[in-house]
Symmetry: C2
Subunit: 353 residues, 2 copies
């Protein structure tokens, strides 16, 4: 009787976060973190920062960061939205753009936060099964809908699509918002940010957590025509006016301005990744050609769960999903060459048993 | 025809942020920022931080900060929620707790974000007019409702209430969630965090932006019994898993642990504030006894807007609200003694004309 307030509590199933090892000695290849530090320019900005500045509110619209990103991508600051990590940016986009009675469409195997936001925001949705090679068929996204979300490259499959696919998708979806989640695009063949100028219904999201080694600072962004960005700003300003703190804004700007370091780091990871695909295939794994900073792999003779547990016992943590269709696959973050050697060594030990 | 996607855009009126002067020489008494830097311990942590750590995700639940706050307030970490500024924490609480068909109640003159969240989240609400002295009548909050929000002390009125009021409010609201917004409580007579142990329907929110001089870092928190905190966590985990970045978590912990600096800074501001009340009254102002880090003042002979514009022309920015009932008042942030002297000098110049 006294707890009648319980009837007004929200009714949701919370998202369950991944394993966070307390052991510092473990090799962490489970969270798609970048094995390299951010640009030395980021360290310089951090070292020059004084806590005395903390007393003032940050720039509410992260203007210096919007300007740096606009310059980097050949757009205007009005085409850029910045948020507290890619999740904040994506959730803001879902809320701003998906207000139809018709379902939004996204692939059945994809980022697990999409259904969580749909439930939280009461957005109807319909998943489109990827094929037996985990590829997305663009024709599944032709029918009338309330919006389309495609991650490119997709996660956890690591598979990317090219310009032709995205243009086809856009040409068949002129009447809804098309959201392309490019969390991993810096490691892939194609980013569609260039299409923002042409398609007024395209929204592209990216993150500083992967290619820019700044997961710890929570910075994400979206690119779109200014009208769409203004709707995202309106949602942000109705929820939390200052999502990016001073240090996040200033260090992110430094990262964007160091193009050379960015390219070098991405290239190193792609090189380690491509070697990894061959090495795992030589061990008998099925491995997709990855356009991301992780590998998606399955072995015909060893269940994924067994490999996951064995390599963990050897001090290497990868990601195992106990989910339909992908429960025999491992998602392996691309670490340094040395970290990958430890993984390969542990797997060889298992296969030799 | 081609812009049919417009029908699915969200329909909201965005919150309009306050004036952000570009001129660094202006004395900023308009945003209730703290004039003093955060604890020197915060600077130490910042100076010792290396950007190399940024590559890893932060602790998703800000556990070190929850532990530090729990210790400070004599609670358990399970009684603490941390978010990306007080606004994030409050919006999370609104979403977690206000899901009734009955309206939530809050004062008519109060923090302007409450109606914005109600609109965004489609929460029915009813405002209860404060009296002619801007005081809240607790009896207005007795009738059946979907939840109660009381800021204590209230803003922009600067008026606080004591324990008797809060207990009375709680005793008459056993069947809904009572949310006490304590953004300014460290400057006031009473914080009800102690009542969290007794009342299972009480939620108390606070911020690092005012008394802890960390507006730039976006840290806010809530205190409640563990069941209520778990609902807030569920909302957070359904929206954005990692709202606090590494630097925010680590510097906030340093702030909480330096109790001596905290007390000294709050005392300095209270001293400057109480002198300010007398000085403004001597100049003919009506000024409320403030329990916050700002003064709410009105002059019988000079319209607030005129004073606002005059002192701005002299390089001092205060806050003027063009809103019903308070459009002849100024909200003046308590700065350093020197900053306040500049304000008083400018006002004297106007009154002498």
């Amino acid at each position: 009787m006294s707890q009648l307030w319980k009837k007004n509590l929200i009714n949701i199933t919370p998202y369950v976060a991944g394993e966070q090892p307390k052991n510092d000695n473990i090799i962490k290849l489970n969270a798609n973190e970048n094995p390299y530090p951010p640009s030395p320019e980021v360290q310089k900005i951090l070292a020059g920062k004084t806590a005395g500045d903390f007393r003032k509110y940050p720039d509410a619209n992260a203007v210096p960061l919007k300007e740096a990103l606009a310059e980097r991508y050949g757009l205007s600051p009005e085409n850029v939205f910045c948020g507290n990590g890619s999740d904040d940016v994506l959730a803001t986009a879902f809320r701003a753009f998906f207000n139809s009675d018709k379902p939004i469409f996204y692939p059945d195997i994809t980022y697990s936060f999409y259904p969580v936001w749909c439930e939280l925001l009461k957005i109807p949705y319909e998943t489109k099964p990827v094929d037996e090679n985990f590829e997305i068929d663009v024709r599944d996204f032709y029918p009338e809908n309330g919006g389309v979300v495609i991650p490119n490259p997709n996660a956890p499959t690591s598979i990317g699509v090219g310009k032709e696919f995205i243009v086809d998708l856009l040409e068949h979806n002129r009447y809804c918002i098309v959201l392309i989640d490019e969390a991993y695009a810096d490691f892939g063949r194609y980013s569609c940010v260039e299409l923002v100028k042409k398609y007024d219904n395209l929204v592209v999201t990216q993150t500083f957590s992967k290619s820019r080694s700044m997961a710890g600072m929570r910075v994400g962004m979206a690119f779109a025509q200014s009208e769409l960005i203004s709707y995202m700003q309106a949602v942000k300003d109705s929820y939390n006016s200052y999502p990016l703190d001073q240090v996040a804004i200033e260090t992110a700007v430094a990262s964007v301005k160091d193009e050379k370091y960015f390219t070098e780091t991405v290239d190193k990871i792609k090189s380690t990744r491509d070697k990894g695909v061959k090495i795992l295939r030589d061990m008998g794994f099925k491995v997709f050609d990855s356009e991301t900073n992780f590998l998606f792999a399955s072995h015909p003779d060893y269940p994924a769960k067994e490999i996951f547990e064995f390599v963990r016992s050897k001090g290497v943590l990868v990601r195992y999903f106990n989910k339909p269709r992908i429960d025999n696959y491992l998602r392996i973050t691309v670490g340094t060459d040395e970290e990958m050697q430890s993984l390969y060594g542990a797997i060889r030990e298992l296969l030799a048993k």
